[in-house]
């Protein structure tokens, strides 16, 4: 356990000692340029040509001219560069000197002494950038965008949707099982529901993919059925067994004397349920709900298979969303070990770990308070 924490956080926090620019590269500008520090977001906007004038960045009124290494042939012939690129650093240096609005992106081995240009400095990635950043685009060129807001929101939306679906239904079934159904029905249904908690998430995901996704697509007439709603429904179904068993157990602890007293006073069985049983077991029900959310937040495979995985801030549950676990699962395979992207995914793992830890502690707190009350 300690080891897990150590490793995760070691890799995850390494993110903040990085700057967002691709390792082994430099960004250079003309030496007379007043801009000397850029953020990752600004850099991306420059290379996406959303920012076209240095004025927008606090520099002088001069349009921005982009230069990537592959553009070199527009300026120099192969002979001038040299057969083995031996004159390449010199050429880049000259370009940076002569064009006033230039911004160039090239590997740092070409940054030689006496380079006639100015290196742009990048701040280390900050916590604020990561949490408030609206764009998750870790492979962006030349600067990775590591805003996790869309992922956090995606996770929250899907999990909340799931719990909104599962809680009322689960609670109703728990009441039915614990208070209304006769013993025989209960002894069949309860193990059955518990059994369903054991079905692997990838099977639920597969079911969602072949049944629920097409259904949603037809029902709402959408271009794609892989939406947050599909994720919520599948997660809701998956959370049901947890919610039902835990809240049913809680209701079962209601002292018989209390129930009988209520009935003896003339209350109906239904009145007893909502006036005595539910208030008495409310802490157990809360624990069930929170545990359900915890399961939904951490669930990976089912969500990965049905939510469409678009890393954009969702505006409704009918859009594709991407959750934190799904992001890790989908991207870790492609992220080179030790790189920025890899570390960013470990940071996501840390966030996930902390969230579930908090959830566990809350549940524990609730149930320990309950024990205290009982004694």
């Amino acid at each position: 356990m300690v080891l897990i924490v150590l490793f995760l956080f070691n890799e995850g926090l390494g993110l903040f000692s990085h700057s967002a620019i691709e390792e082994g590269n430099v960004i250079a500008v003309n030496k007379n340029n007043q801009v000397s520090v850029l953020s990752a977001e600004q850099l991306k906007d420059i290379f996406d040509q959303k920012i076209v004038n240095w004025k927008e960045l606090g520099g002088s009124n001069d349009s921005i001219i982009l230069f990537r290494l592959e553009d070199i042939s527009n300026y120099y012939s192969d002979e001038q560069i040299g057969e083995n690129f031996e004159h390449l650093p010199e050429c880049i240096s000259k370009l940076n000197d002569s064009i006033s609005g230039i911004i160039s992106f090239f590997p740092d081995k070409y940054w030689t002494t006496g380079f006639k240009g100015k290196k742009i400095e990048f701040n280390k990635i900050t916590i604020k950038e990561v949490f408030a950043g609206k764009e998750w685009f870790p492979t962006a060129h030349p600067a990775a965008q590591l805003g996790i807001a869309p992922l956090l929101l995606g996770t929250l939306w899907v999990s909340l949707g799931a719990i909104l679906l599962a809680l009322p239904l689960g609670l109703a079934s728990a009441v039915y099982l614990s208070e209304i159904a006769n013993k025989k029905v209960r002894s069949i249904l309860k193990p059955l529901i518990e059994l369903l908690a054991g079905i692997p998430s990838v099977v639920y995901g597969f079911f969602g993919l072949v049944v629920i996704v097409p259904l949603i697509q037809q029902l709402f007439n959408l271009p794609v059925g892989e939406t947050g709603l599909a994720g919520s429904i599948i997660l809701g179904i998956m959370a049901l067994p947890t919610i039902i068993t835990i809240s049913e157990d809680a209701m079962n602890t209601t002292p018989r004397a209390m129930k009988e007293a209520s009935l003896a006073l003339g209350a109906s069985k239904w009145q007893t349920i909502y006036k005595i049983v539910i208030p008495y077991s409310i802490s157990g029900i809360t624990a069930a709900a929170i545990l359900g959310i915890g399961r939904a937040i951490g669930e990976t495979m089912a969500v990965l298979m049905v939510t469409g995985n678009a890393a954009i801030i969702p505006h409704s549950l009918l859009e594709p969303v991407r959750t934190i676990p799904a992001t890790i699962a989908a991207e870790l395979g492609e992220a080179p070990a030790g790189g920025l992207h890899y570390k960013a995914l470990f940071a996501l793992g840390c966030i996930l770990f902390v969230i579930t830890l908090i959830i566990n502690l809350i549940v524990e707190f609730i149930s320990s308070r309950k024990k205290y009350q009982n004694s």
């Binding site: 080891l3 897990i4 995760l8 529901i193 054991g198 998430s201 995901g205 049944v211």
Partner: protein
Amino acid sequence: MKLPDENKLEKLKKRRQRIAFIILGTIGYSIVAILISILTFIIVKGISVISWDFLTSMPEEGMTKGGIFPAILGSFYLVTGSIIVAFPIGIMAAIYMNEYVKHGTAKKIIKQMTNNLAGVPSIVFGLFGMALFVNKLGFGDSIIAGSFTLGLLILPIIIRTTEEALKSVDDTFRQASIGLGASKWQTTKNVVLPIAFPKIITGMILSIGRVSGETAPILFTVAAYFLPRLPQSMFDQAMALPYHLYVLATSGTNISESRPMAYGTALVLVVIVLFTNLLANALRKYFSNKVKMN
């Protein structure tokens, strides 16, 4: 004599109760119906695919034909490996907690850690397994790395069930043994463990079900998309059932043609999970009856 409006109230109360019970019952049964229909769906769609060939041959033609033998074998290796990793540690931890330190802070800490470990999402185990076993210890993507990762995942289950098993052993057994001059370890080894053993086995069976279904922890520690040959040693990659289902469902070369394969794989997975759970339940019942008779 009752007043007439009191009669009305009584009727209203009854009617309300009837409506509420009908609603609750409908919801309860429909949820069970939904869950059962998922199962039935997988079973009905998968049963026509299952054959001896499907279970024992290699995938063919871009996984649209043939069988899933390497995935079954891979899952078998992973289950065995993770149990070898987790079982001794888990049992020792539980013995230590239950027999040796009945009330210390050490016990509290271990208990707290186990509880928290049980709540950690499986993908986080995958991340950790990748960082430690695959990269740091240099196992690479291999069965051994996957076994260690999955072993960690089932450790809480094993500790918890073993602890329950040990707790269920009546203290008189321990007192009698110690009274006869046996040491604590002798008592644990010769008296407590044999009595608790059947229940410990149920924990193991449950973890078999869990391990065979987990996908996220093996994504980056062992699972291979497709391997033309079976793994030769524990340092080889392997295919595994849940990952195979994921691949078939989402990223096969020809998704619509590999659908039947996917249904078949899903059914195999479901059967393993249902079987292990039922077996564990049956064993638990059988042994609790036996203990009562004694």
